[in-house]
């Protein structure tokens, strides 16, 4: 099918036009975002957002198809060539992530259409959409950019926008969580900025390729500076990407935000910095330098800790959304783990897991949001027997949970499998143990919800079949996300191949 579409794009759109897509996407989103406050009616708001996102999705798809056919490309903004102007680099990974972001955001918006006003004030809906689109634009910017400073700016924008969608719900906890996120993020951005300063002092460039060339050229005697800068980047981006000990902002923010926001936060916001980190590692410093330092081991360590402790914390949570938030910490642990392994397969799997987790976690959050919305409860204990009242929603939750646990063919399993392969390839057999322990821990907190939800006479007592279930059109975005997730698992082979083509390592 992909090939078919490629043919179509090849015939209809001229290549130059396709190369405009990244810029157009960002611009489109930003424009829509700024038009948003002008609109009043809910239908119009959603229409605009949905339209923009739909267009974005189509564009991203065309982009992916184009890249599938022709490979990646650079795009210089304003036609200033690289060292002076800002350039975007769109390869397989970037296009794929863009498509992913577009789809997830579209689905979340679709879901939000039915449920958002139940969670936030009506007057805030426009604000939500503004921030949402702005956020997406900045995230795409982070993903696309080939310029570290540009990346920094987009990071800051994304932080602000993300904070916006957290505090859109006017509760105390939200404000607090937002403030916490903001302060920590600023700290992180400070570090990133400092890191940029360091590498600028080393190389005199800001464009990734040029920094890399310059650094390779005069490496001697600068190892310490490189080390410090790389740590600054890792920790700075680690905060935004919820690397384990720096995850502290995440549970508050994700749990307190409205469900669509949570889904976006979990699926998109913490992913883009990781992509940026990978780019910094492999495009700025390059495989050679990175492998000379022990930074990957540090990332690995944090990743493993995240996998284990994230799950442990998740196990002891009483609120459903907090549990899922901690589960995100654990899943980010997988991604850092994958980066930390340090070989090509590891990086590929990091990207793959980003895709998989974005789809899974967004559907989990939306499903959890539906439960909370329909029942008014927040605690896990209160969701006993929910499977009788909302079977389809819990079904979606179950499939996503199974993916987290690692049932074959579902993407969670594929990532785990390939992570193990990567560990074995890099002769770190002991890592398998952590992988397995973490997947067991995953099972230990997802299964009780599912079992208590579907079975148990006492649990089901007094529940009425389908009494709280949503109409199918409201569930459709969740179903689409779940189906996509399953497909990602099924076609993991070709997907991984596609990612492998664009991976930065040697």
């Amino acid at each position: 099918m992909l090939q078919c579409l490629t043919l179509v794009t090849h015939n209809t759109a001229s290549p130059n036009l396709v190369k405009l897509i990244p810029l157009v996407s960002i611009m489109l989103l930003m424009l829509s975002a700024f038009i948003m406050p002008l609109l009043k009616k809910k239908r119009h708001l959603f229409g605009l957002t949905g339209g923009a996102l739909a267009i974005l999705m189509v564009l991203s798809f065309v982009n992916v198809a184009y890249i599938y056919q022709n490979g990646g490309y650079y795009f210089d903004i304003g036609h200033f060539p690289a060292p002076f102007g800002i350039s975007l680099r769109i390869g397989e990974i970037e296009s794929l992530i863009a498509l992913l972001f577009a789809i997830v955001d579209l689905m979340v918006t679709w879901y939000a259409y039915y449920s958002l006003e139940k969670e936030i004030k009506e007057s805030r809906i426009a604000f939500f959409h503004t921030m949402n689109l702005l956020l997406l634009a900045s995230l795409l910017g982070i993903v696309f950019t080939n310029d570290v400073f540009n990346g920094f700016v987009f990071l800051e924008v994304s932080t602000l926008a993300a904070c916006g969608i957290i505090v859109v719900k006017d509760k105390k906890t939200n404000i607090k969580a937002g403030l916490k996120y903001l302060i920590l993020s600023s700290l992180g951005s400070g570090l990133v900025l400092m890191g940029i300063a360091f590498i600028y002092s080393l190389s005199g460039h800001l464009s990734m390729d040029y920094i890399h060339e310059a650094m390779i050229a005069n490496l001697d005697g600068k190892q310490n500076t490189i080390l410090i800068s790389v740590i600054l980047f890792t920790v700075g981006l680690g905060i935004k990407g919820a690397m384990f000990p720096l995850h502290i902002w995440l549970p508050d923010a994700h749990a307190s935000a409205p469900s669509p926001s949570s889904a976006i936060l979990s699926a998109l916001v913490i992913k883009a910095p990781v992509i940026f980190l990978i780019k910094v590692f492999y495009k700025v410093y390059g495989t050679q330098i990175i492998h000379e330092t022990v930074i990957l081991d540090l990332v690995l360590l944090f990743g493993v800790m995240g996998m284990i402790f994230g799950s442990l914390f998740a196990r002891s949570q009483k609120e459903l959304k907090r549990m899922i938030a901690y589960s995100s910490v654990a899943q980010m642990g997988y991604i850092f783990f994958a980066i930390g392994i340090g070989n090509t397969l590891g990086v590929v799997m990091a990207i793959y897991h980003i895709v998989a987790h974005a789809l899974t976690k967004s559907s989990l959050f939306l499903a959890a949001g539906s439960f909370i919305e329909q029942t008014g409860f927040k605690h896990i204990e209160d969701f006993r027997g929910i499977g009788k009242e909302m079977p389809v929603t819990l079904g979606i939750f179950t499939v996503s949970g199974l993916s987290m646990i690692g049932i074959p063919v579902l993407p969670g399993f594929i990532s785990k499998w390939n992570l193990a392969m990567a560990s074995i390839q890099s002769d770190k057999l002991y890592l398998l143990i952590f992988l397995l322990i973490s997947s067991l821990l995953n099972a230990s907190y997802y299964f009780p919800i599912i079992i208590n939800g579907y079975f148990g006479e006492e649990n089901l007592d007094g529940k009425v079949f389908l009494s709280k279930s949503k109409p199918i059109k409201q569930l459709l975005p969740l179903i689409i996300l779940t189906v996509l997730m399953v497909l990602v698992g099924f076609f993991s082979g070709s997907l991984i191949e596609f990612i492998e083509r664009g991976v930065y390592t040697v």
Binding site: I407, I424, L429, L432, L436, P448, I451, F455, S492
Partner: protein, 551 residues
């Protein structure tokens, strides 16, 4: 068309389940009919696809060497799928009668048929990946059956079951990962795919892989110390317990072990890796522990559950012997134990169904009320002990020969010791039901007539002693003399004449034989037990194909 014919057994139960789950299509009345039709059609399809279909291998979805859903038919598939599908038919009919008083039929039958599909999948799997997938699905499909009663206890057991199963599956994945890193291929081939030349340089990896997979699949096969989900899973309705023990869960674990040992690694490789010495202690402890702890159980189903642990140890032992005789013994015991254990469970289920008794001390004299059932139980018990001419003996025979072929007498001693214990925990049940009179507890009789289960606390020490303790010879001559005296005096007092003979002193007991739906499967299985014991040759020849593939 051939392709479809081959995978039909995998699809039929799913289609059936789709019908069953649909309230509008199938009314409650017709539920059992649909289930019956499904399992029977499935059986026919199995026979067709195994013997009348030329196609023996089909890739459903092949993405790459790893992600490859692949089905294959070989002799081992035939053995397992025939066993499963035929026992499923019997269990279905048993369940129709048994489930009368249970709730939520639709859920039960849905998962009942779905589990059949999964088991067929396990049997037909052509590579480790597919097998693993079905293995995980098996856990998920059987879970609702295990926790069907819906009580807090059931949920707790279900949780335990699922955690153990996933722990095991996780270990399996670990093993698969290491294996795949070495071989890059996971399909089942006769004599294995791990070439001897691969061992150099990968010895540790392969070794760990084998160990991890063995222990992982061992969880389903109730290998000690990963067994404790099994006794807990007893809360399930009896047909489910029977299936869990006979074919569905534990046997799929064993089946996977055979696949893994002989069709992935291959005999030569396993020998070269020299891993069995690490695993044998587990297996030996499994055998002895299972049977010893079974002696401690008063709950009928728990006792059978521990018995299963022990018997599965036999099979694992046979697998690990790596000799043709050992494997033959293991395969025979796989079949025989399935038949025997399902019979035992059916009988216990019948007892519970008819009287609500669950403990051994409650079933005194029940043999007089349900003679046919208890005779079947006795035959099955004798067979499990391994007394000829029943099928249990045949498998024990080959296991013993296998142990001798590798010159290990310890295994035989373990086998025989465990058999002795088996007698110790099974025969007292028969004895209690037939030879211990129930007259001394009149209130117990009332109880089962009123179908109230209030008798947990009723216990007679003397019978408990018989069933629980080994012999403690406290009774001496004098004791006997005095005891008998009273009894005989009564006799003397009674009129002693020719006419006395015509009088019926055996008061006709109330017949409590279970309904036909339950009784017929039990009797049929008992006939099979004896039949396989007296004429084992056809089945041995049938298994010869597997042995040929393996060695």
């Amino acid at each position: 068309m051939e392709k479809l014919g081959m995978i039909l057994p995998l699809l039929v139960p799913i289609i059936g389940a789709l019908f069953i789950v649909n309230k509008r299509l199938i009314s409650d009345k017709n539920l059992t009919k649909v289930v019956a039709v499904t399992v029977i059609i499935n059986f026919i399809c199995v026979v067709y696809s195994l013997f009348f279909n030329d196609l023996t291998a089909v890739h459903i979805l092949k993405v790459n060497a790893f992600l490859d859903i692949y089905f294959k038919v070989d002799q081992l598939t035939r053995v397992f799928s025939l066993l499963a599908s035929s026992l499923w038919v019997l269990t279905a009919f048993y369940a129709f009668a048994y489930m009368d008083h249970e709730k939520r039929h639709r859920q039960f039958y849905t998962f009942f048929t779905l589990t059949l599909a999964v088991i067929m999948g396990v049997a037909y799997s052509g590579n480790l990946f597919t097998l693993y997938g079905y293995y995980e699905l098996l856990t998920l499909c059987t879970l609702p059956l295990v926790i069907h009663p819906g009580t807090a206890e059931a949920l707790q057991s279900g949780k335990k079951y699922i955690i153990y199963s996933f722990g095991g599956a996780t270990l399996v994945v670990l093993g698969m990962m290491m294996l795949y890193a070495v071989t890059g291929d996971m399909s089942f081939m006769a004599h294995g795919i791990v070439d001897l030349s691969l061992i150099e340089g990968n010895r540790d990896l392969l070794k760990w892989s084998y160990l991890a997979m063995f222990l992982g699949f061992g969880v389903k096969a109730a290998l000690v110390p990963f067994h404790s989900w099994l006794p807990n899973a007893m809360v399930a309705p009896t047909p489910v317990s029977a299936l869990l023990h006979a074919v569905a869960v534990v046997k799929s674990g064993v089946f996977s072990l055979i696949r893994m040992t002989y069709f992935i690694f291959g005999t030569q490789t396993v020998m070269a890796l020299d891993v069995t010495k690490y695993l044998m202690p587990f297996v030996v402890v499994t055998i002895v522990m299972g049977s010893l702890l079974a002696l401690h159980q008063d709950h009928l189903k728990r006792r059978l559950a521990y018995s299963t642990i022990s018997q599965l140890g036999y099979i694992l032992l046979g697998i690990l012997m790596l000799t043709p005789n050992g494997l033959l013994g293991a395969m025979l015991h796989l079949i025989n134990h399935a038949v025997i254990k399902i019979t035992l469970f059916f009988v216990v289920g019948a007892i519970t169904h008819m009287t609500h008794f669950k403990y051994i001390h409650q079933i005194r004299g029940i043999g007089k009320q349900m003679p046919v059932t208890m005779i079947c139980f006795t035959v099955a018990a004798i067979s499990l002990v391994g007394i000829p001419p029943t099928n249990g003996f045949v498998s024990k025979w080959f296991l013993g020969l296998g142990a001798l072929n590798i010159g290990n007498f310890l295994y035989i001693i373990i086998l025989l010791l465990s058999a002795f214990f088996t007698a110790g925990y099974l025969l007292p049940i028969s004895v209690t039901s037939f030879f211990v009179s129930s007259k001394s507890e009149p209130h117990e009789r009332d109880a089962y007539q009123s179908n109230h289960e209030t008798l947990h606390e009723v216990s007679d020490d003397s019978v408990r002693e018989i069933t629980h303790e080994m012999a403690k010879d406290t009774i001496h001559e004098t004791a006997h003399e005095t005891e008998n005296k009273t009894l005989r005096n009564e006799m003397v007092a009674a009129e002693f004449s020719e006419d006395g003979e015509a009088e019926s002193t055996d008061a006709k007991p109330i017949k409590l034989e279970p309904p036909k739906g339950m009784l017929y499967p039990i009797v049929l299985l008992t006939v099979v037990i004896v039949g396989l014991g007296i004429f084992p040759n056809p089945i041995i020849n049938f298994l010869g194909g597997v042995i040929q593939d393996a060695f």
